[in-house]
């Protein structure tokens, strides 16, 4: 066979198969292609080795930046919210404010419980204000509930206040509850709130401040006016007057005295209201629905970064789910066309 092949090759090469001169001239006439702008060839393996780690690095960096920025933004928002709420009482008359730590600070920290720190609005000194606070505090168990209730009453009394009402309930299978309405002198309300919140873990707090300065001023003005009216009427009645005039002035004096008594009573009530704050304290043994813990800034940043990566992964997975069938379909069509063309070419060349 080898001999035959060699002989055949020699015979085949001896055949007149060289290109004719016309064709040679035609090809020579083509000359040399113009040198085009050299486009750097992409070495896919090398590019993959560089691009994949680069993309992963960029993604990780983006996740870290996102985590840091997000955690910083959350902390900043919480802090600024506390500042705004605490500074509000200095505002004008009729202002009211409410705070809720569960809204502003996700973890159930004892807002009042931190030593010498209070994040709740406090009454403004030298102004008459109606100060009301609702405090919900969790204690450990029923025994603690009783002890803490007694402690709360003792705290209020020690600060010169009193217990307006107290009710305590406990039943099998139900969390124990103790509801106290406490009246605390406004001057000591911050101290009271700190000590009351230290009885357990603050679950909820609401603070309401209504400025009464205008009301007190109006009531005082009314009292002064009535007193002046009474003085004038009394002086007039000391003069010799006709009987009908004297009778009318006497009626006016009686009305003024009644009004003065009412105005004085209202003024005193307002002052009493402004002097004593109302603190509604609820002690409970209920467990939190979901335990929350302070992860700290690093923990929050890590969590946010993982959330970012999870989001990016979800997007990539979705894209993959959508694109892979399309790519497979295109590949299948391409393979089919290629196979068809090859078979067609084979048929074409098989025909002798």
């Amino acid at each position: 066979m080898a001999t035959f092949e060699a002989e055949l090759a020699r015979e085949l090469r001896a055949l007149p198969i060289d290109a004719p001169d016309e064709l040679r001239e035609r090809v020579r006439a083509l000359g040399e292609p113009n040198p085009r702008r050299r486009i750097p060839r992409v070495a896919w393996r090398r590019a993959t080795l560089v691009l994949v780690p680069a993309c992963v690095s960029v993604l990780l960096a983006a996740a870290v930046v996102h985590g840091i920025v997000s955690s910083h933004a959350t902390k900043h928002t919480s802090a600024s919210a506390s500042v705004v709420e605490a500074g509000h009482p200095a505002s004008g008359a009729g202002g009211a404010t409410r705070t809720n730590p569960s809204d502003s600070l996700a973890p159930s920290v004892s807002v009042f419980g931190e030593a010498n720190k209070t994040f709740a609005p406090l009454p403004t000194p030298n102004r008459h204000q109606d100060y009301q606070a609702d405090l919900r505090v969790r204690v450990d168990d029923l025994d603690a509930l009783g002890r803490r209730t007694a402690q709360a009453m003792q705290i209020v009394r020690s600060l010169g206040g009193y217990v307006a009402s107290v009710s305590q309930s406990s039943a099998n299978g139900q969390p124990g509850e103790a509801d106290l309405v406490l009246r605390v002198p406004v001057a000591h309300v911050d101290d009271a709130l700190i000590r009351l919140s230290a009885l357990g873990t603050v679950l909820e707090q609401h603070v309401s401040i209504v400025d009464l300065e205008n009301t007190v001023t109006q009531q005082r003005r009314q009292v002064r006016a009535l007193k002046l009216q009474i003085l004038r009427l009394t002086a007039a009645l000391g003069q010799p007057l006709p009987a009908d005039v004297r009778l009318r002035l006497q009626f006016q004096l009686d009305d003024a005295r009644r009004n003065l008594a009412a105005a004085t009573g209202a003024s005193r009530a307002t002052l009493r209201e402004a002097a004593l704050s109302r603190v509604a304290l609820s002690l409970t043994t209920e467990r939190p629905a979901a335990a929350t813990h302070d992860r700290g800034r690093v923990g929050a940043a890590v969590s946010d970064a993982f959330h970012f990566l999870a989001g990016a992964g979800a997007i990539a997975l979705a894209a993959l789910i959508v694109l892979v069938p399309i790519a497979l379909l295109i590949l299948l069509v391409w393979w089919g066309i290629r196979a068809f063309r090859r078979r067609a070419a084979d048929r074409l060349l098989a025909a002798s």
Binding site: M1, F4, E5, L8, A9, E11, L12, R13, A14, L15, P16, I17, D18, A19, P20, E22, L23, R24, R26, V27, R28, L30, G31, E32, P33, R36, R342, A344, A345, D346, L348, L349, A350, A351, S352
Partner: protein
Amino acid sequence: MESVNAAATMPALAAGRPTFASVAEAELDAVHAYLLFLTGDRSVAEDVAGETFEKAFRLWRRFDPRRGTARAWLCSIARSAALDHLRAEERRRRRELRYARETRTVDEPSWGDGAAAAALRKLAPADREVVALRVVLELDGPTTARILGISRTACSTRLSRALQRLEELMTDGDV
């Protein structure tokens, strides 16, 4: 045919990226021979060879000597051009259904009057093609398989069958 064999070991090709003109000069006979074996028609081979080099001229910047020889690259282009030509011919013949086969005549003998030439005429184009690539142009098996778009095994089988058929035809008294 010396130029065909000499071009396969051209130092310019091994040294790096050659110029198009030098490659065209060196490989023209080989490409023409291949197309002559493939089509079995001298005028068609000439036309397709010209078309092949025009196409190669346009695509020259895509040629990468590291991926294969210039001869293999040109033969791939030539095969594609030849198949396009044959497909067009096939379509034309279908249109002229009544007398196409009768009118399809070779204008001039392609290989002369010897025993090998007569045997080649009896071979199918596919067999002539593989003989041309492997025996005349002396391309290796993998390169030939890549040009033909088939596996190495299929290429080897096709060559063996073609040579056997050629031997039979040449030794047969009817040839």
